[in-house]
Every structure is written in structure tokens, then in C-alpha cells.
């Protein structure tokens, strides 16, 4: 048995599911402003909890923290890249008030790499130490982003050790862990991870304490923007991954309730309808990544169109059509508290609790992306296996049971206009939560 909880701004929904995924009960309680754990406690208190093996919680607290510029730590930003990475400064293009709230200074030090091992420049360790002493006393956390670090994260880890030796034990977020190509977006995401480390740590502690008391022995997970789950430890390390997780859970829940892996989903709320699409059971991702609080980040978040309520049916029809892969190809699933106001589409039972159900039925996920030189198909297959292994390892780090992790997606994209040939490989893996 498992439970899913969706902590919304007004209400907290919870769902109790059997092991086969059938919904046994749902409840709705008022959320407690500023205290997500209290909402979780109130909702779960009204469900049978004795045989729960895991509880998955959907949160919006991290996104709210960025949007309101509240509870953010001051971050020292270290970019490893030297001359090839100086044209655009760290935190460039951020809304000034958010930059003000987050920035404790930055440095760009020599090091970083390229597509080939011989492109790598040695890390300027002295410059890293100077950066650390420069932000000492101001930085409450540090973000490290290295040029091409998704190909090799060693220099980021080496720099983190130097920073820790200078500044002691403070949160250090590394960009290589995010695994996506695109320096500025990955760096922004890493800075948000560092800035949110305080909020996320407190959140993880609060949830752990609440659930240890309410459901002792159950694994506790939180939702993330790609529609999978992660452990509380992972949340504390990578809070940015929870951004966009609310809509992602609703999309997945709607698909599971309607028995569809591919669908367009409309979540009808009191103030707006959020429309997204599912492909293979997971949310379609926004092209070019997401913007959080006005900052472009590399996180994978659902591609969404929002239609204000009360709505014009033509606007809703256009939003649904925009998210179709082809004309009228996918069924529409309508969920959420206001689902009755949209007559068309499928209205599955328990649609009001789609977010909580989506959390309960989702696996723990991990992903990995890298660029490799693959002169022929056999080299490609070997490289893909290595990338799939990294994705599996990422899922296990996020809290998946290593015995049951499987690859959801393995894709290769040839990089245009480069000899080599160079191929971008990407794998996603997922498995049930580990109970260890």
C-alpha cells in the first residue's frame, strides 16, 4: 500500500492506493500556509496508514521560495572555464531583485573542458582558493559550474574540496550532477540549488519527522519536475529538481486514472486551467528548458499552457491543440476541482486528486546526458550502455531500488555540423522506491 500527497496553495489532497494501483480512498484538507508538513500530517491522519510501504509528497514550496525571493541562501558562484567562458558573466540576465537576494559574488577560474579529453585545461586551484576566501563571510552556500562538466565532473569535485577546506562545511551544489548540456542554464540551475538548500533542508527534515511519527517504516519521497520521485536526501541536495513537480504529478495521475500513456491533460483549477501532454506516461518537456522566477534553467519541466478561469472555450481548444503531436490525435483527459465546467474529454473517477495519485504511482527517477564521439554503430552502442548505467546510478542515488531500476528512454541525437561524429546521448531510468 502506498499514499500520495499533493500540497497545493489552498488545499492538500491525499490518496491511498493498493499495490496494484487501484485507488482505495482520497481526502482533501486545507493547506497550512508556510508549513507544508502540517498539511501532509492533516491529510494523512485521515487515511489508514498501517501498511504503507511508501509515501510520495508533491510540494510547491521551493518554487514559491524563488518566486517570492524568500528563504534563499546567499550563493558564491564559481565558474570553471577560463577564457572560453568569459563572454557572459554568471547571474547575467537574472531579475535584479533575485540576483540581489542570491548573489554573494562570483569568479571565473581557469579549467574546464571540451568535447575531447585533450581540450581540457588544468584547474587553477589557487584561483579557486582565492574565490573561496573572497566570498568567506558572505556566502552561505556555493555553486560550482564547469565548462563541459557533464562529460567529466572531476574538476567540479576538486574545486568543491578546495572550497570546503577554506570555508568549512557549507552546502556546495555541483552542476555536473544535473547532467544537461548548456552552461548558462545549468549554472543558473546550480545556483538555485544552492540558494534553496536552506529551504529544502528544513523541508526535508520537517517531512522526515512528520512521517516517521505518522507512518513509521514507510519510505518518504517527493515529486520532481520530470514526473518521477526522489528521496528527501536528494531533495536537500537538488531542490531545483522539485520545481515544476506539481503539474508533473497531475499529468501522470490523470494518465494513470484514464489508463492512458499518451494524452493531453487539462487540470481545471479555481483560477486557471493548466494544460499539458503525456508521452509514454511522462510529461512532455518544455522545449529549451524552463524559466523559474525569470531565470532560464536547464531543468526538465512539463510544457504547459495556462488558460485563465472563467475561460473562453476557444482558448482552451487552442491550448489543447497546441499540445497535440498531430491534429486531434490524442484523447483529452480532464481532471481537477473544476473538471465539470469542461464538458468535453474523459473525466476519470478520482480526477480531483490526480496530483496525489500521480505522486503515489510514480517511480523514482534518474537521468544522464553526455556528448560522445562515436565513429561507428558499435562504439555508439557501447557509449549508450555507459550512459544508461549512469542514468541507473542516478535513479539509485535518488532513492530507487537498484534491483528493479529499468531504462525508460535511451536516445541519441547526432550533433549537426561537427565532424567526429559527435552524438548526444541521453538516458532516463526509473524504479520503485528503495525501502532501505
Amino acid at each position: 500500500m502506498r499514499a500520495g500527497v499533493d500540497v497545493g496553495p489552498t488545499n492538500t489532497d491525499a490518496a491511498h492506493l493498493a499495490d496494484d494501483g487501484s485507488v482505495l480512498a482520497t481526502v482533501k484538507v486545507a493547506s497550512v500556509p508556510g508549513d507544508p508538513a502540517a498539511g501532509v500530517r492533516a491529510a494523512l491522519a485521515r487515511l489508514p496508514r498501517r501498511e504503507l510501504t511508501h509515501v510520495a509528497v508533491g510540494l510547491r514550496a521551493t518554487a514559491a521560495s524563488v518566486v517570492r525571493r524568500q528563504g534563499l541562501r546567499k550563493v558564491g558562484v564559481l565558474r570553471i572555464g577560463g577564457a572560453p567562458a568569459r563572454a557572459v558573466r554568471p547571474l547575467s540576465g537574472w531579475p535584479p531583485d533575485l540576483r540581489e537576494a542570491v548573489s554573494a559574488g562570483y569568479a571565473i577560474v581557469d579549467g574546464g573542458g571540451g568535447l575531447d579529453p585533450e581540450d581540457w585545461a588544468p584547474l587553477d586551484r589557487d584561483a579557486v582558493a582565492r574565490f573561496a576566501s573572497g566570498v568567506a563571510g558572505r556566502a552561505q552556500a556555493v555553486a560550482v559550474a564547469g565548462l563541459f562538466s557533464p562529460l567529466d565532473g572531476d574538476q567540479e569535485r576538486e574545486a568543491a574540496e578546495i572550497v570546503r577546506a577554506e570555508l568549512g562545511d557549507l552546502p556546495i551544489a555541483l552542476s555536473a550532477d544535473l547532467g544537461s548540456i548548456g552552461l548558462l542554464e545549468r549554472e543558473n540551475a546550480t545556483v538555485l540549488d544552492a540558494a534553496l538548500s536552506g529551504v529544502a533542508g528544513a523541508l526535508a527534515d520537517g517531512l522526515a519527522a512528520t512521517l516517521a511519527e505518522l507512518c513509521p517504516g514507510a519510505a518518504v519521497l517527493v515529486t520532481r519536475g520530470d514526473g518521477t520521485l526522489m528521496s528527501l536526501e536528494h531533495l536537500a541536495r537538488h531542490p531545483g529538481l522539485s520545481l515544476g513537480s506539481g503539474p508533473a504529478s497531475v499529468l501522470r495521475g490523470a494518465g494513470v486514472l484514464a489508463g492512458l500513456g499518451d494524452a493531453v491533460v487539462a487540470d481545471v483549477g479555481a483560477r486557471r486551467i493548466t494544460v499539458g501532454a503525456l508521452a509514454g506516461g511522462f510529461p512532455e518537456e518544455a522545449v529549451g528548458g524552463a524559466e523559474i522566477g525569470g531565470v532560464p534553467v536547464g531543468f526538465r519541466v512539463p510544457s504547459l499552457i495556462r488558460v485563465p478561469v472563467p475561460f473562453d472555450p476557444a482558448d482552451l481548444a487552442e491550448a489543447v491543440d497546441r499540445l497535440q503531436p498531430g491534429p486531434g490525435r490524442l484523447p483529452l483527459v480532464v481532471v481537477g476541482g473544476g473538471a465539470e465546467s469542461v464538458p468535453q474529454g474523459l473525466h476519470p473517477p478520482h480526477g480531483k486528486a490526480a496530483g496525489a495519485i500521480g505522486a503515489a504511482v510514480s517511480p523514482v527517477g534518474g537521468q544522464y546526458e553526455r556528448i560522445v564521439r562515436a565513429p561507428d554503430r558499435s562504439a555508439l552502442a557501447q557509449a549508450m550502455e555507459a550512459v544508461a548505467e549512469e542514468a541507473r546510478a542516478a535513479a539509485v542515488r535518488a532513492g530507487a531500488d537498484p534491483r528493479h531500476v529499468r531504462i525508460l528512454e535511451a536516445a541519441d541525437t547526432r550533433l549537426a555540423y561537427l565532424p567526429g561524429p559527435f552524438v548526444k546521448l541521453r538516458a532516463r531510468a526509473a524504479g520503485p522506491p528503495s525501502r532501505l
Binding site: A83, A87, D119, L184, R322, Q324, P325, L418
Partner: protein, 366 residues
Amino acid sequence: MRIDTGLLPAFARGCAVLGSGGGGPVAIGRAAARQALEDHGPVEVVSPTELDPSLLVMPVGTAGSSAVMSERVGGTEEPVHLRDKIEELFGAPVGAVMASEIGGTNGCLAVAWAARLGLPLVDADGMSRAFPGMDQTVMQLRGVSPTPAVMCDERGRTVVIDHVTGRWLERFVRASLEAFGGQVATSEYVLRGHQVASCTALGSVTRAVRLGERLPEPIVTGKIAEAGGSVLVEGLGPDEGRLVRVEAGSEFLAVIEDGAPVAAVPDVIALLDTRTREVVQTEQVRYGLRVAVLTVPCDPVWHTPEGLRLAGPAAFGLTGLTALAAPGGLTGGSGTGGPGGPGGLGGPAGAAGAAGPLADRREVAP
């Protein structure tokens, strides 16, 4: 005119439109230009008549892969290395910077690098848009030598190419690109001040600003009804009932309606997302997107026979479109009997044709 951080967004938007669906990631070029303008102040835009006739005008740009640029955002010293080497090779000082290619990210980088060098930017460029080939320039048409040409990276690693034609320049840059890690700064077709008025596409910088401030009326506004291969745009609103086909390679190459071309390369074809007002690049096209399709004329030199040979429809493998490009030939190519089959237009399958296997932002294909 001066380009400062206030005028930059309009200029960058104009560059994006002139990318014709290609030209690389404008967001990075724009961010680099913003930082350079913040650090060094506004860039003076000068007309060719204001140039000292004997000083050098240095065309600048980058060649490479967009995927690499998204990671390796570039440095601050490339223009310094380029200038020093050009001055050494030509034995004369560089008096102004020019964009090799106004369309796409390279237009913005020319602003960034002029700011970093403290030099004026000439109101001209080599292409009047983005083209995939380094030799698809007005300078090539006017017989300016492409060499000595200089390639360098952010650390100043430099290659000088000399005694080659435009086609061979392309070949050498392609061969060096991998050694440079997939991205390189270049200067070729270096000019003297007195040559600019007759050997370049004039007014490019002011035109990009004007375009960014006010876009032309669209050919059609609608939704993308098919995105695989050629792009179908189904008219919506006032354009309800219309259906146009946009041929795309690494740029948008032609717009066809009722079997007849209404716009074609070398003229610029741009798609604009009607919701975000952002320029849509060829790889961002997908079903359901609401777009406005618009066209902007290229420099008239591209409609001369030599211009069309270098950068006309046939150079991009569009065999049925020569009629459109010829002056007054707009009505040709319709019907079913044309050489390219229905619509009289061959697909871009042979895009690796006459002008070489070329790609956007002068991205050099293997």
C-alpha cells in the same frame, strides 16, 4: 547611430529574423553583446563614407556547432587576437569592425567585439542575412580575396589561411574546426575602407534595428499543421482556409502557396511564434505552434545571375524555383509539370549541392 544596451534587444531581434530560421543561438550572442556594452560603453555605427579609405575593415564572426556554443559561450579576447593577427598580416591598422553575417548570433557578436576593441561598427555586412557558407558573401561576388583569413579561439590559438578561393576557405575551416573543439572565431574577406561601399551589403545594422522595432506584415498567420520535412502552415483567423508550405533545410528556404512560390532564398523567410513573439528556428518547428510567416528582402545583389549561382534556390537544392528568383518571374513554377513535381519545386534533398554542404551560422557540415 549608436548601439547601447537599450537598443540591443531590437537589434538582436532583427538579427534573429535575418537568420531566416538559422544563424545559431542569438540568445548567447545577445548576452555577450550586453556584457560587452556594459563593460565598454556603446558602439558607434558608421556609414561606409565615414571610413578612412586606407584603414582596414575587419569582418568578424564565428563558425561552429550550436550545441558547442550553448556550452562554450565564448570569451572576451577573440577580437583582440583576430585584430592583432590581421594588422600583422596586412601591415595596416584596423579602423572598424563589420559583421561577416548580420543574421543570427554573429550579428550580435560583431557588436560585442566592436565594443571590446573600442572600434566603430560599419553599417554593412557580408550577407544581408545568414547563409551557411563562409563564401556566400557580397565580397566574394565582388572579387575581394577571402584571404589571408584568420581563425582563432578564446585562448589565442590561431590558424592563418592564405592563397585559397572561397570554396577552399570553407574546406580548410571545416578541417580545422574539430581541432578547435567545434567552435572558432574567424575573419576573412578583409577590406580597405574604400572598398566597403561597393563590396558589401549596405545598411545592415540599421536595417536589423528597424526590423526588430517593427516587423513586416506576415504572408500568413496560422498554425503548423505538419512539421516533418517541409512545414505546412494552416491559416487561422483572417487567413482561415489558406495553406502554405515552407521548405526548410538548416534555414527556411521557400514559401509555397497554391503550387506557386511566394518567397524563396536568397530572400529571408522567418517564422515568429505568435504567442511569445520569439523567432522560431528550423529545429524548433513542431505541430501546433501558432506562427506568423514573414519575408524580408535580401540585398538586391543576390538576385543577379552571379548572386543566384552562389546563394539562389539551386544552391540549396531547390531545383524548381529559379523562376521566382529571376526578376519578374514570380508567376512561374506553378502547375504540375515542373521539374520538381507538383508545385514545380524539388525538395531540399540535394541541399549538399552547388554551394557545398552548408549549414546555419556558417556551421560547417562534415
